[in-house]
Amino acid sequence: MSPAKPVVHAAREQVARLLALVPYLHSRGEVRLADAAAALGVDPDQLDKDLRVLFMCGLPGGYPDDLINVDLDALEGDRIIRVANADYLARPVSFAPSEAAALVVALQALAQSAAPETQDVVRRTLAKFEAAGQTAAAERVHVEATPEPGSELVPVLQGAIDRGHQLELEYHVASRDEHSTRVVEPRAVTRVGDATYLDAWCHTAGGDRVFRLDRILRATELDTPVSEQAGDARDLGSGWFAGEEAATTVTVRLAPPAHWVTEYYPVTDTRPGPRGSLDVDLEVASEAWLRQLLFRVAPHAAVVAPQEFADSFRAGAQAAVRLYTEPGVR
C-alpha cells in the first residue's frame, strides 16, 4: 500500500504564495528575487511566474490605479522585486485550521521527545501559539509520545562536532546483535528517512561510516582533536543508503494473526495461501531484520522461499527452544 498522492491545487497554492510574498516585501521594500525565493522556500522561476499573476490583480474598478504595481523592468533586469499599491495585503492570512494543527502537533511531538535541557524552549514556543489562540484545531489530533531512542545523545555528539573532538562510541551491530567499542571522528548528525545518523570517519574500521543513533549505547567526547580525515559532512540523503546491501525477495506465509505485517512493511506482492493465510513477497536487505520480524510474530509467519532463509530461521528456533529444554548441555 502506498500513501495516496496528494491532490495538486495549483491556483490555490499560487495565491497562498502571493499572500505570503506581499507582506514579506511590505516590511522590506525591495528584495532580490533570489533572496525572497530562499526565504519563502519557493523556486525563483515559480516566484517570477507568481509575480506576473499579481500584476493582474487589484481592487475592482478597472482603472490602472486600482491594480497592484509590479516593477517588471526591475524584475526582468536586475532580478529585483518591487511591488506597490498593495498595502491592503500587508498582513499575512491567518493559519488555516489544518496548518495550525500540523505545526502545533509537530511542536507537541517535539516537546515529548526533546531532552530536558531543550524542553523549556519548546514549551515557550508552544505557549506563544496558545496565547495567540492557534491551538484549538490541534486538540482534535493526538500523537502518543514515542521518544526516539538515542536522541538523548545529540547534545554530546553535537558538542564534540562543534569543538572538533573525537568520540568513543559503544555501538550495537544489529546484523550480529553485538556491541563494539570504537573511536570515530564525527562530522554531522543527519536525519535520513525515519532514522537519525552520526556521520563519521571510523578509526576501527579505517573508513567512512554512519552510525544509527538508536544503536549507539554510549558516546564519550575525547580530548583528542579530529584530524583532516573527519573532512566535511557528506550528503547522506541522495541515495547514499540505496544499494548498500543487495535486497533478496523473500516469500513469507502469514497466518491470519500476522496479517497486520502487510500493513506495516512494504510488501511487493500478496497472494492467498492455504487456510486463510497470505503469501507475501518482501524485499529483504538484511536477513537479521527478517529473522527478528519472524520471531516477533511467531508462530504465525513462515518462510516459503528461499530455502536457506527457511533453514536458518528454523535452526534459530531450535537453538532457542534448546535454551529452555536443555540448559547447560553445551
Binding site: 495516496a4 490583480c57 492570512v93 511542536l107 524552549v121 495567540a132 493526538h142 511467531a298 540448559p327
Partner: protein, 329 residues
C-alpha cells in the same frame, strides 16, 4: 488555466477584504464571473465556481463572513472578509524559539501535512520571523502516516464533516460505516480515528489501516459538534492500555539484546546462563504482558525468560510453534 483561476481567487479576496458592508453575490458575479451567461445553466455554473472558490480561500485560512445586505430582506446573502479574523495574529518569537519552529517544521513526513506545515512557516516568515534551525541540538521527531486513508480523516476531522467508508475487521467481510470524526490519534505507531458512529449511535474507534478503499465525505462541513469535554488524548490512552504491566526477568547474552538493556530496570552482569557459547547477564524489565513476549521473541536464541512462568511458557510455546509449521522441515 491555473493563472486565470489564481487571478480570480486573489481578486475575489481583495474585493471582499476590509469591506465595511457585505458585498452582494450579484456584484461579485459581475466583477469576477462575467463569463457565465445569464441563464439557468450559467447560473448553476456560477454557483458551483463561486462555492469552489470560497472553499479554496477557506483552505488558505481566510474567514469569509456571510451576512444580510438589508435588515428587512434577508433573502440575499452578502459576503466580506474581516482583517480581525483573517489576518495572522502578531506572534513574536525569540531566536531560539524560531529555531524550534524550524525543527518542528521538518517533523511531518506525511506529504499533505508536510505541505501544510510549510505553508504555516511561510506565513510566519512573511510576518518577519527569521528561522535558523541550524544550531539547536534537537532532532525532529518523525511524524508519519503510511495509511492511505489518513488524509481524508484528517481533513474531515478539521472540517467536521461526516464520512463514509468500508471497514474490515480481521476475519470479517468489509462493512460500510458512517462516522462523525472527532479526532485522529497516533498510538504505538498506528493511526486511529475516534468519533460518533452514526448507524450504531455510539462512540467508536477505527484503525486507519483497516479502512478499505475510498473515504467519502457526505454533506456539509461543520455538520456536527464534537461533544464538549471530549478528550482525544484520553481515548488514545485507553487504546494503549492492552494488558497490565508485568515485571519480567530474562537472561540475555552478553553484548546482545540492546533494546531490552536500554529499558531495563536492573542488569546483573556475568551470571550463569543456559549455555557457555557466551557470557550471560540477568536483565529485569517491565512492560505489558502481550508486548513483552513479542519483544523477547525478537531476539531469538539470545534471550531466555526466567520469570514469570506464564511469560516463559508463552514464549516457549510460540518458539515450538515455529518448529511445528508445515513445510519448515
Amino acid at each position: 488555466m491555473a493563472s486565470d483561476k489564481a487571478e480570480r481567487l486573489l481578486n475575489l479576496y481583495i474585493m471582499l477584504l476590509a469591506q465595511t458592508r457585505f458585498v452582494s453575490k450579484q456584484d461579485i458575479r459581475r466583477a469576477h464571473y462575467a463569463e457565465y451567461p445569464d441563464n439557468a445553466k450559467g447560473d448553476e455554473a456560477f454557483e458551483k465556481a463561486f462555492e469552489r472558490d470560497k472553499d479554496d480561500l477557506r483552505e488558505l485560512g481566510v474567514v469569509i463572513e456571510v451576512g444580510s445586505l438589508d435588515a428587512f430582506f434577508d433573502d440575499e446573502p452578502g459576503y466580506r472578509i474581516s482583517t480581525d479574523t483573517s489576518a495572522l495574529p502578531e506572534i513574536r518569537f525569540e531566536a531560539d524559539e524560531a529555531a524550534v519552529l524550524g525543527i518542528a517544521a521538518r517533523a511531518w513526513e506525511q506529504a499533505t501535512l508536510a505541505r501544510r506545515t510549510t505553508e504555516a512557516m511561510r506565513k510566519l516568515t512573511a510576518q518577519g520571523v527569521e528561522v535558523d534551525a541550524a544550531r539547536l541540538d534537537l532532532v525532529p521527531p518523525s511524524l508519519r502516516a503510511e495509511e492511505p486513508a489518513f488524509d481524508a480523516f484528517w481533513d474531515a476531522t478539521q472540517k467536521r464533516r461526516v464520512v463514509t467508508f468500508d471497514y474490515r475487521r480481521p476475519g470479517e467481510q468489509p462493512r460500510k460505516r458512517r462516522l462523525q470524526p472527532w479526532g485522529v490519534v497516533r498510538s504505538s505507531g498506528r493511526w486511529y480515528v475516534v468519533g460518533h458512529d452514526v448507524d450504531r449511535d455510539a462512540e467508536r474507534v477505527f484503525r486507519l489501516s483497516r479502512v478499505q478503499g475510498k473515504v467519502s465525505g457526505i454533506g456539509k462541513a461543520g455538520a456536527y459538534d464534537v461533544p464538549p469535554g471530549t478528550d482525544v488524548a484520553a481515548i488514545a490512552a485507553n487504546l494503549a492500555r492492552r494488558t497490565p504491566d508485568v515485571e519480567a526477568t530474562v537472561l540475555v547474552r552478553q553484548r546482545a539484546g540492546v533494546g531490552l538493556r536500554r529499558r531495563a530496570t536492573s542488569v546483573e552482569e556475568d551470571v550463569p546462563g543456559p549455555d557457555r557459547e557466551s557470557g550471560w547477564d540477568r536483565v529485569v524489565l517491565t512492560g505489558p504482558g502481550s508486548d513483552l513476549a513479542a519483544e523477547v521473541l525478537t531476539y531469538g536464541p539470545s534471550v531466555v525468560v526466567e520469570a514469570p512462568d506464564e511469560l516463559r511458557a508463552d514464549v516457549l510455546a510460540r518458539l515450538r510453534g515455529i518448529l511445528e509449521q508445515e513445510g519448515s522441515r
